[in-house]
């Protein structure tokens, strides 16, 4: 059974703020609330290497996927949001405050880092409890128990993390990040090593947290993961924000981009001539004994090709899309 996430009881939450802090919090709220995460013209470079290049976006409640190939700058961006890296230029704000050098923001932020490292000598329960103690929660054991149950790790809670599988370690890390019921949750490749059932559970859990008003940002290099979980996406490629917004409209952009197919047939010359008469095709050439076809409409071309081949009495031996890698999709989005 999939257990849903429930917010912490007030008695389990972190101690109330100091009087000065409480007075500040009691001040009249601004007309338009600040976004949970605000990134403004942020860049980060290491020597001559630009890891993140002038990225801006703002996120509110809900689940957002940070999509991009390995090395795109996703972790650098998440680390800057988590206050673990200083931006070289620009500003990052979490719940209206700069994240850099402000430990107090971690009362409202949870982070699941990509690196697998978790104290191997602690049990899953001890790790969650340690996180609860460091958060200053009133009842760390109860909070740890709850977080462990939420990530469905109760059966292995009292085994040392060193004996866990990769997926179990991911869930232990998530328990540690959830233990204080954060308003903002940042997850770096959280599905790594999880089996399909665990992924489904994680998706249900994160969706229920988002429905309760939490802001969740997770990174992934797998389109299908993002498709299943995120309401909106940020596409990062080569350190730049290639696209952002509603998932479906960006998915459409990805599908409707120009495509190139390589086709091997019984008569390449005749097939190329026939294809050039199709409106969906804007280029065909003979290359290394194959027809290379360029189309602006993926759907129309894949429907037209069998008909054209049949009408021209040409047998198709092989049809291969040549630019279907995520790398080429991201590259296209950046060029647009």
């Amino acid at each position: 059974m999939t257990r849903e996430w429930t917010p912490l009881e007030p008695s389990q939450a972190a101690p109330p703020p100091a009087p000065a802090e409480a007075a500040a919090q009691a001040a009249p709220a601004p007309a338009a609330p600040a976004p949970a995460i605000a990134v403004e013209h942020v860049s980060r470079w290491y020597g001559n290497v630009v890891a993140v290049n002038d990225i801006s976006f703002a996120l509110g409640a809900g689940v957002t996927g940070l999509l991009g190939p390995n090395g795109a700058g996703k972790s650098t961006l998440l680390h800057m949001m988590a206050g673990l890296l200083a931006p070289s230029s620009g500003q990052v704000a979490i719940l209206g405050q700069s994240a850099w050098r402000r430990p107090e923001i971690y009362r409202s932020v949870g982070l699941v880092p990509e690196r697998e490292a978790v104290h191997p000598y602690l049990t899953g329960f001890q790790f969650a409890q340690y996180n609860a103690q460091l958060q200053g929660l009133a009842d760390p054991a109860a909070a740890a128990e709850r977080a462990i149950a939420t990530v469905e790790l109760s059966d292995a809670a009292h085994r040392s993390i060193g004996t866990y599988s990769k997926g179990m370690r991911q869930r232990a890390k998530l328990a540690g990040a959830l233990v204080h019921d954060p308003q903002v949750l940042l997850l770096d490749e959280p599905f790594n090593g999880m089996d399909p059932r665990q992924r489904l559970h994680m998706i249900t859990l994160l969706r229920s947290m988002a429905a309760a008003g939490r802001t969740i940002l997770f990174s992934s290099h797998i389109l299908e993961e993002v498709e299943r979980l995120a309401d909106s996406i940020l596409v990062v490629y080569a350190g730049r924000l290639a696209a952002s917004g509603d998932f479906r409209s960006i998915r459409r952009l990805m599908t409707d981009r120009p495509h190139t197919f390589t086709v091997r047939s019984s008569d390449d010359r005749r097939l190329a001539a026939a294809l050039m008469l199709e409106p969906a095709v804007f280029g065909a050439e003979l290359v290394d004994g194959r027809v290379s076809v360029r189309t602006a409409d993926f759907g129309a071309f894949t429907r037209a090709l069998p008909r054209v081949a049949r009408d021209s009495q040409v047998s198709l031996f092989e049809v291969t899309p040549t630019d279907e890698s995520l790398e080429s999709v991201f590259s296209y989005l950046v060029r647009r």
Partner: protein, 238 residues
């Protein structure tokens, strides 16, 4: 102070979970083993000299080096420090917790061998030898441990740099260049021991200078490490 206890507990468990703890115990026991060998062989050299040569010059800085660079440096290297850094804790509290472990474990490992070695070899004033070296090594070990802890927050090569400091700077240069003695934790430790009544080779640093050197190293190391952790940045990632 409520976060100090769990950080101390997890740090100690981390240290004991590593193989290096056996190396540390073996290293710390070396003066006792050598003292036993000397007694079995029928010799009985001056305890002050043995404690100076073996403990103050060799075992104490090495034990403090291993412990000091491990308590937080190993967590930074393996990535587990992130879990500590994304918590609403003042960075000086993290350093305090780690410094308590580093200094405490160095003292626990070093002081018993000092006492046992003194008992095995002391020919005259056992009480003075034990008192002087115990107090001097306690403060000297604390200074070394915190200095190396601070170093490990700046570089992943803290162990090698610390080893070079102990072997090259303190072992060779500080002995040859009289004016640089005040930059040596070892010389300050010997200065304290000498002021408490034991014989140390050469001209020791005056007691006040020795105490000031150790106080500056302890306080400076603590502040530097806190400053550095407040600017902690993760390594790696894409």
């Amino acid at each position: 102070m409520s976060v100090v206890a769990p950080i101390v507990e997890v740090t100690v468990r981390g240290l004991f979970g590593r193989r290096r703890i056996f190396l540390l115990v073996l290293l710390a026991a070396l003066p006792v083993l050598i003292a036993l060998l000397i007694r079995v062989a029928g010799g009985r050299p001056d305890a002050d000299r043995v404690l100076d040569t073996l403990v103050v010059r060799f075992v104490m800085p090495l034990v403090a080096l291993i412990v000091g660079t491990t308590v937080i440096g190993s967590e930074i290297d393996d990535g587990t420090a992130v879990y500590l850094m994304v918590k609403p804790i003042a960075r000086w509290r993290i350093v305090l917790s780690k410094a308590l472990v580093a200094a405490g474990l160095t003292a626990v490992l070093i002081l018993p061998p000092v006492i046992v070695t003194a008992i095995l070899l002391s020919r005259t004033d056992l009480a003075t030898t034990i008192e002087a070296f115990t107090i001097a090594c306690f403060f000297g070990g604390t200074a070394y441990a915190i200095a190396f802890l601070a170093l490990s927050t700046f570089t992943s090569r803290a162990f090698l740099i610390g080893l070079a400091y102990v072997l090259i700077w303190e072992g060779v240069l500080a002995s040859l260049l009289e004016g640089t003695k005040f930059l040596s934790i070892r010389q300050a430790t010997l200065g304290i021991a000498s002021a408490l009544g034991v014989n140390t080779p050469g001209e020791p640093l005056p007691q006040t200078v020795s105490a000031a050197v150790l106080a500056v190293v302890i306080a400076g190391g603590f502040m530097l490490a806190s400053w550095r952790l407040a600017r902690f940045e993760v390594r790696g990632g894409d």
